[in-house]
């Protein structure tokens, strides 16, 4: 990678972040708050070891969501169904984990595999609908997200697969015994989920898949040029389906870190909203395993250090607005750059190609 390439690769994300910092700066100024002191307060709070730990733990989940989204993005697929897939994965992982007793490593492995299968299967519904019925995957995934929440909520009832522990109002799955738990790493005065290594492994596997395997090559090719990929022998419908399932399987892992090292059971208290975060992180990290990691950390950092703003009378939700602004700035930046490139190319090639080209189809 040449220096030039690296520059352009990070230019857009960096510009986007700076842009939203500016936006927040202005808003804080309007509130009569000194932005710089706020920022430094956030930074010192965020990098405080105890907070760093929970940020890292959250990063694990966000990272997996980002990779899941990125797999889809590489094929121009919008996996907004990550919400439902993650829930399915976490729920069934917890149910299976709480229902059996196996030797330690196997037990964990079973939970992980169950989660991936559950997430993958749920994604397969949307994939099937897209490939066989031409149903827009955004719409079907949105519907599936709601349905997933409803189904799981039902299955959590004590009469079904759940249980209601004493003194608690929330239904949850049966707790996973010790053999199905993953240890934590003591660092910075806190405990980091060892699932972090799994996340890193997923990231590496993602990179290897994309850059070293024929499957990854086909995936990228289909995203870059549907027609060229097809002419080269790629089976497009199958590619779409498999990619959707793969993305769902990774999404299924999003909640497993928390499940295995922290809560050891699933309940509706598990957070929602991973879909948008995943998509945002993939965009911010340019679908690159390292980029997504930084983006995921940034996101967790922002969320964790936001409460500090309250001390100055600034509602911490401003951070949500900041996240939204970052995402918008990024995609606008990408679009603008793409347009400039296109115009340059067109000028260079001239109108000859335009003349000689047959019917233009939309992609």
């Amino acid at each position: 990678m040449t220096k030039n390439r690296i520059f352009w690769a990070v230019a857009a994300p960096v510009a986007a972040i700076l842009n939203s910092l500016l936006f927040i700066y202005i808003i804080l100024k309007i509130r009569g708050v000194d932005p710089l002191s706020m920022f430094s307060l956030m930074i010192s709070y965020g990098f405080d070891p105890r907070n760093l730990v929970s940020e890292l733990n959250q990063t694990i989940a966000y990272y997996l969501a980002g990779v899941a989204a990125a797999i889809g993005f590489k094929m121009l697929l919008f996996n907004i169904g990550i919400d439902g897939q993650y829930r399915m994965g976490a729920f069934f992982g917890a149910v299976v984990g709480g229902a059996v007793a196996l030797p330690p490593v196997l037990h964990v492995l079973l939970i992980v595999i169950t989660a991936m299968i559950a997430g993958g299967l749920w994604a397969a519904v949307a994939g099937y609908l897209k490939v066989r019925r031409g149903v827009n995957e955004v719409i079907s995934n949105i519907m599936l997200n709601f349905i997933a929440a409803a189904v799981i909520s039902y299955l959590l009832l004590p009469s079904m697969l759940g249980t209601l522990p004493e003194g608690s109002q929330t239904a949850q799955t049966f707790p996973i015994p010790a053999s199905g738990q993953m240890p934590t790493i003591k660092a910075f005065d806190g405990e980091i989920y060892s699932f972090l290594f799994v996340a890193i492994f997923v990231g590496i596997a993602y990179w290897v898949m994309l850059n070293k395997t024929v499957f990854g090559f086909n995936l990228k090719a289909t995203g870059l040029s549907f027609r060229a990929a097809r002419a080269s022998g790629v089976n497009a419908p199958r590619m779409i389906f498999v990619t959707t399932v793969l993305s769902g399987a990774i999404a299924g892992l999003v909640g497993i870190g928390t499940l295995l090292s922290d809560t050891h059971k699933y309940s509706m208290a598990f957070p929602a909203g991973y879909a948008f975060t995943g998509l945002a992180l993939a965009l911010l990290g340019r679908n690159h395993p390292v980029g997504i990691f930084f983006a995921a950390f940034l996101w967790s950092f922002l969320e964790r250090s936001a409460p500090v703003l309250e001390f100055e009378g600034v509602p911490p939700e401003i951070v949500i607005v900041m996240q939204g602004t970052i995402v918008l700035s990024i995609v606008i930046a990408y679009e603008v750059v793409a347009r400039i490139n296109l115009r340059q190319q067109q000028r260079a090639v001239g109108s000859v190609s335009a003349e000689a080209q047959p019917i233009k189809e939309s992609n």
Binding site: R133, N136, L328
Partner: protein, 415 residues
């Protein structure tokens, strides 16, 4: 060979589930008959009680507005995933400005800010050309975050807190004179079928908010604009074949700006309804995914205002049932099962095997539910609209007629 046919009207052109107005009427009549029967049998009189119909309307209006918002955008070619965010904008601005200057100003504020948020979405997707789904999602996020943020700033000082606004003055309601008491009278007489129907009608005519009536007018208004006005024709073509429109000198970009802005305004008004009529406060999480259900009603209604209305009534009804007694729900399922069974019979007789199988399946499922399940979990009812839409998408994809280019990126000058 040219026919001097009547002016185009919805029913004539509808390629919806049923083929003609006559059939729809008959079907509705059958439904009522069955429901009345079931009520008689099970004693669950709640299904067609005035309370239910009133509640249905209350639940349906926000869905209707979100659905109309989705319709306006998609007819012009853009899928508006940001409806939820625009609804939130509506709830917040209606409550805040309503608190400050009275509910009518609140309503106006919601309309204006909704328009602006729609315009924002339009500029992002049409002019700059970013992906429609990303833009929509970003708007959802920003709206939610901004609502919380601004709530935290403004509300605590005046008696609310960051999740709930101070109460807003209510808007006037009225009961339709003459007609309402008339129907109430019939309802009380408990005559089979007629009383049930009257009860429903009575519920619709009582405690009606002016806003409700006003918002309902958007349905025929949308229909009229889409099929009778110059702008509407151009808007439809922007969604069906923008290249063709462009070739005839139409400014597709401008058309889309307007349509999407209106889309935002409508969704926002739905939110305003939630804050001003259905309740009298802004509450965090008030919208509860209704913006997305709005998208569902567009599909369910086959991209027609009447269909969106029907869909929102159906979904509003299921929503309303949820807060009523559980045996009403069971009775409703029985009724639905019987209707599905009848439909199935009809399809078998006309040799349409696939629809027969689908409705037969529904009938059997309803039967199973009645026999095996004692009460319906809330959760399924919540998910009903989504499930129904998914089923429609899966089995009826061929019969649906979405605008041909909805959701696809379009740049001026592309052939």
């Amino acid at each position: 060979m040219s026919t001097q046919s009547a002016t185009p009207n919805k029913a004539e052109k509808a390629k919806s589930f049923f083929k003609s107005p006559a059939r729809v009427t008959i079907l509705i009549a059958i439904v009522f008959l069955v429901v009345s029967l079931v009520e008689n049998i099970t004693g669950a009189v709640d299904i067609s009680s005035p309370g239910t119909s009133g509640a249905t309307l209350r639940f349906a209006i926000p869905l209707l507005m979100a659905g109309l918002g989705g319709l306006w955008a998609e007819r012009a070619g853009v899928i508006n995933i940001g409806l939820e965010g625009m609804m939130i904008v509506g709830t917040w601005t209606a409550a805040w400005f309503g608190y400050l200057h009275g509910p009518w100003v609140g309503l106006l504020a919601a309309a204006i800010f909704g328009l602006l948020s729609g315009l924002f979405h339009a500029i992002l997707t049409v002019k700059i050309g970013i992906d429609q789904a990303v833009s929509g999602l970003a708007i959802n996020l920003i709206a939610a975050g901004a609502a919380r943020y601004l709530s935290g700033i403004f509300f605590p000082a005046v008696g609310g807190d960051r999740t709930i606004s101070p109460p807003v003055e209510t808007l006037p309601t009225f009961t339709v004179p003459v007609l309402a008491p008339f129907f109430q009278g019939i309802d009380e007489k408990n005559i089979f079928l007629i009383s049930n129907v009257s009860g429903l009608i009575y519920g619709l005519l009582t405690d009606l908010s002016v806003v409700t009536v006003g918002l309902l007018l958007f349905v025929p208004l949308t229909s009229w604009i889409l099929w009778r006005s110059k702008f509407g024709l151009r808007m439809r073509f922007s969604g069906e074949n923008p290249m063709a429109a462009e070739s005839l000198g139409i400014n597709v970009y401008m058309t889309r700006y307007i349509a999407i802005s209106v889309s935002g305004m409508l969704a926002s008004l739905g939110g305003a309804y939630l804050a001003l009529v259905a309740s009298s406060v802004y509450r965090e999480g008030q919208t509860a995914g209704r913006g997305f259900i709005g998208l569902a009603t567009v599909i369910f209604g086959n991209w027609r205002p009447g269909g969106v209305f029907a869909g929102s009534v159906l979904f509003g009804f299921t929503d309303a049932l949820r807060v009523r007694q559980s045996d009403s729900v069971m009775a409703m399922i029985m009724a639905a099962g019987i209707v599905a069974g009848l439909l199935s019979l009809y399809y078998v007789l006309s040799r349409k095997w696939k629809p027969a199988a689908v409705s037969g399946g529904i009938a059997l499922f309803a039967l199973w539910m009645n026999l095996r399940v004692t009460n319906i979990p809330q959760e399924f009812i919540t998910a009903f609209p989504n499930l129904a839409t998914l089923i429609v998408l899966t089995f009826l994809a061929q019969r649906l007629t979405p605008p041909a280019m909805a959701g696809m990126p379009y740049r001026r000058g592309s052939e």
